[in-house]
């Protein structure tokens, strides 16, 4: 065997502890790199699958094109799959908000292959003439469409299906009758998002008869060049979809963002890896100074020394690479299994996070980790190659340290005694040796503290959002007609699983200050907002009891003024605001009516000097007047054209946690079956999704930080243990001159303290700075005051001290063992 080879392998074996820790470090680095590659691929693939499930697999969509032009498309040879939606026609729309209702033809073969159809309720169309409609179209009918409803469509041909203005319509000779079988949740092939649309199942012949189509294409090979070529001469407007943008060989901002994020993390991993491996090598070499110089004295050339050192690195790399890769794959498989349900909940998707890799991925990881190892071994290798033969020949290392560098402050000796003095001097002596480990530890600490701050602000922003209302779900509706039927609205709260609930009703209004003149009122200058609020009878009764009033007291346009309100200041603190120094006895109220016609006078029977903490119907800087439901009904009568928009009705519910999903489904069914138009806001579901997102972030952030911390830990373990071993002879000397076990322990402990102190002196201020930077970036946006997560900082500081003490104690235990004389005789190479 080649002697360089033999020397490399034997060196690895001899410096077993350092080699194992270094190999562990490389394994962790490779595993992290593998994990990051897989995470990036997995996330992009998840987003791609999610898009595919929502909108289909087309990479390019042409919005509107004649079928004849479609046949003439250039580069048809690049198309793998083509999907068309027949643009059958348009229907006049009843709302000013939309241009027209769209009527689109779909084919059986495309459903849930290239045209995904996610049915909110009802079923997929099975026979020609059956249709799914979008929620926007459903909202335009007087009452929600029941599955099975037949609708006759008076078909028009618009001059454009996608333009919003100046559209000419031609009446078609035929009428189309469709049977609605369900409501669609998604937008297949991104057919004009949020438009009222019928998706009608057609026979292939009917589909072919349509002159204009909406077309989607999947390309045989998706990359930047092909997309550019394919879309270059396309007629009309087209869109390159997210399906393409998330593909591996396409440049896009989404890819750039995710991969950029991964690259930043990768740089951190490489830096940590380089730090560890380099330090491991330095240690290994410092233990072999004599050996290397002997080799030099017997004729080993610089190149051979370079070769030997590099080979050592490569051997360790070859051992660590497969283990690291497999570990990365296993860890990501486990992580994806945990993350998938959370991600599905967060983005409301059925897509799954899976391991996506190609041989190229493995090659990239192998090359990147090889580069890491080579960079890491570079400096130690250079140092080895410069090793002169004299050091070994003379049997001693050149001591370059100057006495004044070892001078310790008198305070150290005074307070900590001789042991503290020795510990201090030793730290000073090993300053350069410990520098790499110190930097890597500070870096880990900083990373951990920064991530703690990031998670803190994310968490706080969610908490603030959640604190704005304690209810889990809110069912809302509006309109005078609904208000008249409020009994049935209130009864919804009686279903099983709802722990607490109350109904609140409010009218947005203006009050007229005494100083107002007719002219200033007409110009709107003196209008001040006020909210007229009422509750269901049961809640009203609780409140009246609390206020020591009876129902009689509020009858006849009388109300209670809530003269205070909560608001959040610039620092995010909750404060109260007072509206009137001298609350008025009467309110001249204008209901939110552009014509200022509906004027009423409310008499204030009581003024509350505290904001409503319970049953607070709304937040904001507006005074509230609480009235009986009958009073509110009177206020809404005779409103003419504004009747439909008044008042707002909310049923706020706190539900049993375990029945949340069930209750939500029941409420959704109730909404569907009810003649009243209602919306359900699921705060608990949203909070849960936000919490899931934070949990996902926590798992990713802290998982990453933990592995980086472990790499740093390996680094510091290597440094401290080897440093202690190299001082075995020195320790033996101290013992031989009478240092007892207790004093020795104390010296080691002081070293740990001083080292921790130095680390924290750099780490904590940097952590606070980084926390402040995160606050500037994130905290201010979500209105969270600047706060240092003290518990995390204290925890990190304590962990650092404990870990350092443990490693030092562990290391010192092994050097304390054995005979003093043996240790005194110890040579450098043993």
């Amino acid at each position: 065997m080649n002697i360089i080879h033999t020397l490399s392998i034997k060196s690895i074996k001899k410096n077993k502890t350092t080699s194992i820790v270094t190999i562990l470090g490389i394994i962790m680095s490779v595993a992290l790199m593998t994990g990051l590659f897989l995470f990036s691929n997995g996330m992009l693939n998840f987003l791609r699958d999610d898009y595919g499930l929502r909108h289909g697999t087309a990479e390019v969509i042409i919005d509107e094109i004649d079928r004849s032009a479609l046949a003439q498309l250039p580069h048809r040879d690049m198309i793998k799959q083509e999907t068309t939606l027949a643009l059958i026609g348009a229907e006049k729309v009843t709302s000013d908000y939309y241009v027209h209702n769209h009527v689109v033809g779909i084919q059986q073969k495309d459903i849930n292959t290239t045209v995904p159809m996610d049915v909110e309720f009802g079923r997929l169309p099975e026979n020609p003439g059956e249709a799914l409609i979008t929620p926007e179209l459903n909202s335009l009918f007087d009452k929600p469409v029941e599955p099975g409803t037949q609708i006759r469509i008076d078909l028009l041909t618009p001059s454009s299906y996608t333009e919003k203005e100046n559209i000419q319509y031609t009446r078609q000779e035929k009428e189309l009758t469709v049977t609605v079988v369900g409501i669609l949740r998604n937008t297949p092939l991104r057919y004009p998002m949020t438009e009222p649309t019928y998706f009608v199942l057609q026979t292939p012949e009917e589909n072919q008869a349509a002159q204009r189509v909406w077309a989607g294409f999947s390309l045989k090979k998706v990359n930047d060049a092909n997309l550019k070529t394919f879309t270059k001469d396309l007629p009309g407007s087209y869109e390159i979809t997210e399906m393409a943008k998330y593909s591996p060989n396409v440049s896009s901002s989404a890819r750039f963002f995710i991969q950029g994020f991964v690259v930043v993390l990768m740089v951190i991993v490489v830096a940590a890896g380089v730090g560890l491996i380099q330090n491991g090598f330095m240690i290994s070499l410092s233990q072999r100074v004599q050996e290397l110089s002997i080799l030099s004295s017997v004729g080993m050339t610089k190149r051979q020394k370079w070769n030997m050192s590099l080979r050592e690195g490569l051997f360790m790399y070859l051992i660590a690479l497969p283990i690291g890769m497999v570990s990365g794959f296993v860890a990501m498989e486990i992580l994806f299994r945990i993350l998938t349900p959370m991600m599905q909940g967060f983005v409301q998707s059925k897509a799954e996070m899976t391991l996506v890799w190609e041989p190229m991925t493995l090659l990239q990881i192998a090359l990147l980790s090889l580069l890491t190892v080579i960079v890491a071994t570079l400096i130690p290798t250079l140092r080895v190659s410069r090793q002169t033969p004299l050091v070994g020949v003379r049997q001693q290392e050149e001591i370059k340290i100057k006495p004044r560098q070892l001078r310790s402050p008198w305070l150290v000796r005074k307070v900590f005694g001789l042991e503290g003095d020795l510990a201090w001097k030793n730290l000073r002596r090993n300053r350069r040796k410990y520098r790499a480990t110190l930097i890597s530890l500070i870096f880990s600490l900083l990373l951990y503290l920064s991530l703690s701050s990031l998670v803190y602000y994310m968490h706080q922003s969610t908490e603030i959002t959640q604190s704005r209302g304690t209810e889990d779900m809110v069912l809302s509706t509006q309109g005078a007609e609904s208000f008249r039927q409020r009994d049935s609205f209130e009864k919804i709260a009686q279903m099983d699983g709802i722990k607490e609930s109350y109904c609140s009703y409010y009218l947005s209004a203006f009050y007229i200050p005494e100083s107002a003149t007719e002219g200033s009122l007409e110009e709107g200058e003196d209008r001040k907002s006020v909210q007229i609020i009422s509750y269901d009878p049961e809640t009203m009764s609780v409140l009246l009891n609390e206020w020591k009033l009876s129902e009689e007291d509020l009858k006849g346009a009388r109300g209670v003024l809530v003269n205070h309100s909560f608001y959040r200041d610039d620092q995010g603190a909750i404060r109260t605001e007072k509206f009137f120094e001298n609350p008025p006895g009467e309110f001249a109220v204008l209901i939110d009516d552009p014509d200022l016609k509906a004027s009423h006078t409310l008499t204030i029977v009581k003024s509350l000097q505290e904001p409503m903490s319970k049953f607070n119907a709304s937040w904001g800087d507006t005074p509230q007047v609480i009235v009986l439901p009958e009073t509110m009904e009177e206020l809404t009568i005779g409103m003419g054209q504004i009747e439909d928009i008044l008042p707002y009705m909310n049923l706020r519910m706190i539900v049993e946690e375990e029945n949340h999903r069930e209750i939500k489904e029941t409420l959704e069914k109730t909404i569907k079956d009810s003649e009243m138009r209602m919306d359900l806001t699921d705060h608990r579901g949203r909070f849960q999704r936000e919490r899931d997102f934070i949990t996902v972030s926590k798992i990713l952030f802290f998982g990453f930080a933990t592995i980086i911390a472990l790499i740093s830990l390996a680094n510091i373990y290597n440094s401290l243990i080897s440093s202690l071993r190299l001082r075995k002879k020195e320790f033996a000397m101290l013992r031989s001159v009478g240092m007892e076990e207790k004093a020795f322990h104390r010296m080691i402990r002081f070293e740990s303290y001083f080292y921790s102190l130095k680390l924290l002196l750099y780490g904590i201020p940097l952590g606070v700075l980084s926390s402040f930077a995160i606050y500037l970036y994130l905290g201010q946006r979500v209105n969270v005051p600047f706060n240092v997560p003290i518990a995390h900082f204290a925890g990190a500081a304590l962990t650092v001290v404990v870990v350092l003490i443990l490693i030092m104690q562990l290391g010192s235990r092994s050097v304390r063992k054995g005979n003093i004389l043996d240790a005194l005789k110890m040579e450098m190479d043993l």
Binding site: N2, I3, T6, L7, K10, S11, K13, K14, Q290, E291, I294, L295, S296, S297, V298, G299, M300, T301, K302, R303, Q304, T388, P389, L390, G392, V393, Q395, E827, D829, L830
Partner: protein
């Protein structure tokens, strides 16, 4: 024929008041097959002179010619190769590579040179050194005397022009010392190898053919012994 020419060799440390002249303008020649002992008190510059001759240290001024080649004109790598082939170094503390076994330690200069080992020559050498049964032992499994034999084996395996021994018996007991000197004498006689030995022991010095006495970095006495 002169195998070694040392011309006006000096090695100084420090400057001004702290200037130390470890070697001060030393000049001498050695002929092939010579067996020279360098003696002198501690700090007289013996080891420094040997390091300079062996090419492991560089002089402040002067030349060292081995076989007519000025070794300090070589590049660092060429000097390493020169050391490997032309100089055999033996140290007081053996300086063996602890992770290599006896056989590998002896063959090291040849292996570094990617040369084929003449197994016959190797067997003769280890037999002569008396360590044929220790070939697979690691240095720490050997006695001091045995380790020094391995060190001598390593110095001789390439049949160098010059063997430099820095107090090779300084760490050994009397019997082991005698054996080592006997081995060096045998090499000198059998292979006509030029040997320079640094020693404090006058009895050992007296076994050389020539004695150079050093003091304060200078050769103060050069005497050839008659046998």
């Amino acid at each position: 024929m002169d195998i070694l020419q040392v011309k006006n060799l000096s090695k100084h440390y420090g400057k001004g008041e702290t200037l130390v002249k470890a070697i001060d303008d030393v000049t001498f020649n050695l002929v092939k097959g010579d067996f020279v002992a360098i003696i002198g008190p501690s700090g007289s510059g013996k080891s420094t002179l040997m390091h300079l001759i062996g090419g492991v240290d560089k002089p402040t001024q002067g030349k060292v010619l081995i076989d007519g080649q000025d070794i300090y004109t070589f590049s660092e790598d060429n000097l390493a190769i020169f050391r490997r082939r032309q100089v055999g170094l033996i140290y007081q503390f053996y300086n063996l590579i602890p992770i290599l076994n006896v056989e590998e330690n002896i063959k090291l200069p040849l292996l570094l040179d990617k040369q084929r080992v003449d197994e016959g020559q190797f067997s003769d050498l280890v037999a002569q050194l008396g360590i044929a049964d220790r070939l697979h032992h690691l240095p720490n499994q050997l006695s001091g005397g045995q380790q020094q034999r391995v060190s001598i084996g390593r110095a001789l395996i390439y049949s160098p022009a010059l063997v430099l021994a820095d107090e090779p018996t300084g760490n050994l007991d009397s019997d082991a010392s005698q054996e080592i000197i006997h081995l060096l004498e045998e090499c000198n006689q059998r292979y006509r190898q030029t040997i320079v030995i640094i020693t404090h022991d006058e009895r050992i010095a007296m076994r050389a053919k020539r004695i150079l006495t050093m003091k304060d970095g200078k050769i103060v006495k050069d005497e050839r012994l008659r046998r």
